[in-house]
Symmetry: C2
């Protein structure tokens, strides 16, 4: 499909003239990265150069440029797509990626979420209402203690139980033993309740071990996988999601991705980092710090993430937004109102504040059923 | 070595009381990520919690905290080390990682640069003076045109010739054909000049293909490898660097890493992102945008990068700082004075402005020999 293009939206700080200059600079920096005046080949100038499709004022001192690039500059590799979108320009200030428009040809090169909203509902037998997620923590516990927590959470009605993202392969909580025990505990609890429950171990690991740990986790009975693309790269997550021999739901964790987006006018916008990219990379759910918790995203940023998770994306399935980061039972009604039913609600520490962990989970389940 | 700890320095925005609160928060967020009041186990409180080792004022409204963590929280995985250093705290504002102190026990778990400064000098037969690096560009050229550029650059006296980081596996410049032709061109030129010259193809690629491309590149005659850890993850670079069957010098490219550091008081400081982490991950040279070019790093930030590349780091070899990003021949004397002799000078487009590319390279060589 030579000649086909895809489009990236950038927010640019500055007045109209400054924004136009930055947009032109992005067209060169993200493609040929070479003195424009030395390039005479019309094919390179016409096709390879980025092209400003539109440039409009959005607010005082803030413009928005839509810039298109040739699909041929990307091929079909997610790593190179990220490079064309923002590789070198990430090193320049006053510039933020706010939206990706892949178009059907480029989008078809990516599978996207294998399960997504509908697939995870089907697997869990929960046709409506938000899903419940919790975590195994704190760091420092051994496999037996973590498995005991998993058992209580599964009995208490949690749908998806994930490892704390700090659980790796510590000497006191080795990956294989931890996953075996936790998966077994969740299986026993599910047999008791008669309801499916998915255990999602953290397979964020050194590059040569990610796939190996995922396969081991599957053999040991894991029902999903937790991955932090900020630590292993978005394409390592995509490779797991695309693996037909695994075929497990993928939860995306935002560790280290904050640097892409803490500054509100730079980097990759939260909706890109935590919804569009995870979706492109095949995540079925994306964990992010909700407004009102320990982190600083605004309600508007959270709304944009939820929109990016659900909006049409050239045929890629929607994923589950999973607001987290200091949520509490007291906030469940508000959070459900804000995000709606297709939400994976993640509460960690607060479930331990209600007598017993199982009781905390039952209260969580009750609040969600009522909301 | 239970009980052993390593230390991370954070710059914190705020007055003394604010900085103390942030430092305490980091101790919890980066470890147990759990309500502190619910943790009574003295082993977790005493060992697993981060510990504020010092907190000092550095400037009005800016403090510096040194926080230590248990080695057992990391084990020996670079992914988990990054997670403990900054995983969740990357999602909070006003906080910057400015220095890593691994200590000898943790550092010994990483090989670091296989070649480093001395090894690359030996391989190139250049016992003193800066090394010369250039790039094959612009994007849009096919394998034959890129190989012709490589040939001219090698004849002109360049030591290390790298792919443009935008060269991936495009339909018009497939990886295998491009690498074969460019490696062959560089080999022919080196036979003519009698001087070694290393060709460094870009092996930044989808996760399952990185190692495969590196091995193919080696078989085709590549003398080094270019990797962008912002696109594939730092640990994928480490795995390449550690591979004894490859044993090739690694050049680190900063694509997409800018988001970690464009804001001067947030994320990972340039010296951490572009010197300490690449060194820990085994890079032999780190390309970064120098002051005075198309990007915005200050001379102080560039000095810190160069210092981070060379300073003692618990036995890890020093790496080559490779200032780039809009360098020109006119600036060579100044750049050499600023960075000193152990510098890999990278000039791209400007070499094409001096009659012929070979002539541009010869002028570059002459200026460096004189400086």
């Amino acid at each position: 499909v030579s000649g086909a293009r895809f489009t990236v939206t950038y927010a640019i700080a500055g007045d109209a003239a400054e924004a136009a200059a930055v947009a032109r600079d992005v067209c060169i920096e993200q493609t040929v990265e070479y003195p424009e005046d030395l390039i005479t080949d019309p094919a390179i100038r016409g096709e390879v150069f980025g092209r400003v499709e539109s440039l409009v004022a959005r607010a005082p001192g803030r413009h928005e440029a839509r810039i298109s690039y040739a699909l041929d500059s990307v091929g079909s590799e997610l790593t190179q797509l990220l490079n064309v979108v923002f590789g070198n320009s990430s090193l320049k200030p006053g510039l933020q990626v706010t939206h990706l428009e892949l178009g059907p040809v480029l989008a078809a090169r990516f599978r996207g979420p294998r399960f997504g909203v509908a697939g995870l509902r089907a697997r869990l037998g929960r046709p409506r209402a938000p899903l419940l997620c919790s975590a195994l923590k704190p760091l420092g516990l051994g496999p037996a203690a973590l498995a005991a927590l998993a058992y209580e959470e599964a009995l208490g009605g949690i749908d998806v139980i994930k490892d704390d993202h700090g659980l790796a392969d510590q000497p006191y909580a080795r990956f294989a033993e931890r996953v075996e025990r936790c998966a077994d505990a969740v299986r026993r609890a599910a047999a008791q309740t008669g309801r499916p429950c998915l255990y999602a171990p953290n397979v964020t690991a050194p590059a040569p071990l990610v796939a190996e740990r995922a396969r081991l986790a599957q053999r040991l009975g894991a029902g999903a996988l937790l991955v932090a693309p900020g630590l292993v790269g978005f394409d390592a997550m995509r490779a797991l999601a695309d693996d037909d021999a695994l075929a497990l739901p993928i939860l995306c964790h935002p560790a280290l991705l904050g640097s892409f987006m803490v500054s509100p006018a730079q980097g990759l916008a939260p909706a890109v980092t935590l919804a569009e990219l995870p979706r492109l990379a095949g995540a079925d759910a994306s964990i992010f710090p909700s407004y009102g918790g320990r982190f600083v995203f605004t309600p508007d940023e959270c709304r944009a993430i939820a929109r990016g998770a659900a909006a049409p994306m050239d045929g890629l399935a929607p994923l589950w937004p999973a607001p987290a980061g200091g949520m509490s039972l007291a906030r469940v009604p508000e959070i459900v109102r804000f995000y709606g039913p297709d939400t994976l609600l993640l509460i960690g520490g607060d479930l331990h504040r209600h007598g017993s962990l199982r009781r905390g989970c039952e209260l969580f389940r009750g609040l969600v059923e009522k909301a």
